[in-house]
């Protein structure tokens, strides 16, 4: 078992490095020069200035050397300086990440709260109206384009009905609390600033619902399928035959067994939420990692791109690793292979 874990860990590190190498190489084939975009028109036309800035950013070094600098920095927890914001990338990420974590977590919880019961109900009362409703809702959820849904709910609930607050994390007149975790809900609750807490919570409602849409569909469908599978198992039939009440069978026997695939998928879905909030964040002016990713990619901000790639790769590899590990624990044959 230990050998299995160690070898998997080793492979994981190699995977992450490979991912960064590939992105590094692709980003370097871009014909555009990121320096020109960051300098004013006068400076960008002055070869001396351009060369100075390139040297400052280390862009004049050979490829392998630049990659080595990236690796060396990585070992020391340093992602280098962003070409666009001209400050440490890590600082940028620390500032933007909490907004995304908060949004993704809330919408994930939302998707679970609705998706799990809906999936279970749909399986238990198969072919009933609720099954059809669940199917319809989840299929709509995965079919609606997030960027469009965001526009529509904002136009309806903010612009027209005036039920929900507008884009952003807080009202224009609210001042954010001093960051402790950067998660507004926690920071405001910590200092007992309930007015700002309510404000932050209200601002989360629309974007988290929009973001939850597709995850909700996924979780509902997976839960339903897993529940159907486990309801048809012999031990469940036996339990039913023994005369146990239906809800005891569902909650006590079938549900726990159906959870494994749901948890697996849930993990991946959460990782996806963290990485894939670009559109929602764009429409809701949400100052998170998704928009940072987008702006960095547009500007070919090498240090920022490398940092984001590394983080996303680590998250996905870690989730994959945990999933594989849980399978290995459940099925010893996997580890021996």
């Amino acid at each position: 078992m230990l050998r299995y874990i160690v070898s998997r860990l080793g492979i994981s590190v190699v995977m992450i490095l490979l991912a960064t190498v590939v992105i590094f190489l692709i980003a370097n084939t871009v014909p555009g020069d990121p320096v020109l975009m960051q300098l004013g028109d006068l400076a960008a036309s002055d070869p001396v200035r351009v060369a100075e800035f390139r040297a400052h950013m280390g862009l004049d070094l050979p490829l392998w050397h630049r990659y080595w600098i990236f690796l060396w920095g990585l070992l020391h927890g340093d992602f280098g300086e962003s070409i666009v914001s001209r400050r440490p990338v890590l600082q940028d990420i620390i500032e933007y990440a909490p907004a995304t974590v908060e949004l993704a977590s809330i919408s994930f919880v939302l998707a679970l709260l609705v998706g799990l019961p809906l999936g279970v109900l749909a399986a238990v009362r198969r072919d009933s109206w609720i099954d059809h409703v669940a199917r319809f809702v989840s299929l709509i959820g995965v079919s609606a384009p997030t960027f469009w849904l965001a526009f529509v709910v904002l136009a309806i609930f903010y612009g027209w009905l005036d039920w929900a607050p507008g884009p952003g994390r807080l009202d224009p007149v609210s001042f954010p609390p001093t960051p402790i975790t950067g998660l507004l809900l926690i920071d405001t609750a910590w200092v007992g600033d309930w007015a700002t807490f309510r404000d932050a919570a209200a601002h989360l409602v629309l974007p988290s619902i929009v973001l939850a849409g597709s995850t909700l569909g996924l979780i509902t469908r997976t839960t339903r399928a897993a529940m159907l599978e486990s309801l048809s198992q012999d031990y469940v039939r036996v339990a039913r035959a023994k005369g146990l009440r239906r809800w005891v069978v569902v909650n006590g026997h079938a549900l726990p067994n159906a959870m494994l695939p749901v948890v697996t998928l849930g993990g991946l879905a959460y990782a996806n939420l963290l990485a894939g909030a670009v559109m929602t964040e764009t429409v809701f002016s949400w100052p998170g990692l998704g928009r940072y990713t987008f702006t960095s990619a547009v500007a070919v901000d090498f240090p920022a791109i490398m940092a984001i790639t590394t983080i996303v790769a680590v998250v996905f590899v870690a989730v994959n690793f945990l999933v594989d590990l849980s399978y290995a624990l459940l099925d010893p044959r996997v580890a021996k292979r």
Partner: protein, 285 residues
């Protein structure tokens, strides 16, 4: 409601309708959109790229069913033409990505050993890329345009098919009929293509169908971010982007969004129906 009043055993027709009604609806939607796309020049009243800034942003009316956009072009016409790009991209990405991934996965599973291991690690590698960064980097390197966006999508598209087909082949490989075929002396290639693939094709078809919708959605998203088509080509994602700031002129963004929603829904309904139909648990009832 109906579930409670209905007798325990519904008529077979009603049961079929309730189980596959959505799938039928999905198929109908797709057929309708496909026909609209093919016959776009004949069913639309306006020239798709006719710019008339004096008539810009007119609300929906009898002359312009879905209003006009910022350049005075007919939104309805552009929505219909948009189906051409979206459907084509959806089919192309899934056809190429699906074929490539499936073959690779099947070969790997059949070959076993280091080839299989290498392939699976490669799929892991692709899975851990931030797809947006990859797509944007490719667009920046090759230039914005439909072909380049499709290339970027293909790079990240094939692994899920590789994984699925590998697991299907592994399952089938241990079946008795394969061992029988081997003992008879068929060549591995023959067994893979003539014996195993037909049996594994069901789940693949489900994934393929669902995935066309997914591909359309992803392409529209990339297009929304400005990586899709070159103007003035009508495309749904970029049309939504055009109208994103126009809350009062809601028709500019709303109709192309509904178009995306319905097409993707069509494929999802159909794929879901396929899955039910193939599911042995479902059929036994």
């Amino acid at each position: 409601m109906s579930g409670i009043v209905l007798p325990a055993i519904a008529s077979p027709r009603r049961r079929w309708l309730r189980r596959y009604g959505l799938a039928g609806l999905g198929a109908a939607i797709i057929v309708a959109w496909t026909l609209l796309a093919i016959f776009a020049p004949w069913v639309t009243p306006y020239d798709v790229n006719f710019v008339d800034v004096a008539n810009r942003l007119h609300a929906p009316s009898w002359t312009h069913w879905m209003g006009t956009d910022q350049l005075g072009r007919d939104v309805a016409t552009r929505v219909v033409y948009g189906a051409r790009i979206s459907l084509t991209v959806g089919f192309v990405v899934v056809a190429i990505g699906g074929t490539f991934g499936t073959l690779l996965g099947a070969i790997a599973a059949y070959a076993r050993g280091w080839a299989e291991e290498a392939l699976m690690r490669l799929t892991d590698l692709v899975f851990c890329f931030p797809a947006i960064i990859l797509a944007m980097a490719i667009a920046a390197a090759l230039g914005i345009g439909t072909t380049n966006t499709v290339i970027a999508m293909l790079v990240v598209w094939w692994p899920k098919f590789a994984r699925l087909s590998r697991s299907l082949v592994i399952t089938q490989r241990s079946m008795e009929y394969v061992e029988a075929a081997q003992s008879v002396g068929f060549k591995p290639g023959h067994i893979l293509i003539r014996q195993i693939m037909p049996n594994a094709v069901g789940p693949l078809v489900v994934l393929l169908t669902l995935d066309v919708g997914n591909a359309i959605l992803v392409f529209a998203g990339l297009s929304f971010l400005g990586l899709g088509v070159i103007p003035p080509t009508a495309e749904w994602g970029s049309m939504v982007a055009d109208g994103r700031e126009l809350v009062q002129q809601w028709w500019v963004a709303t109709f192309p969004g509904i178009a995306i929603l319905t097409v993707v829904m069509g494929f999802n309904f159909m794929g879901d129906g396929f899955r039910d139909w193939l599911d042995p648990h479902a059929r036994s009832r």
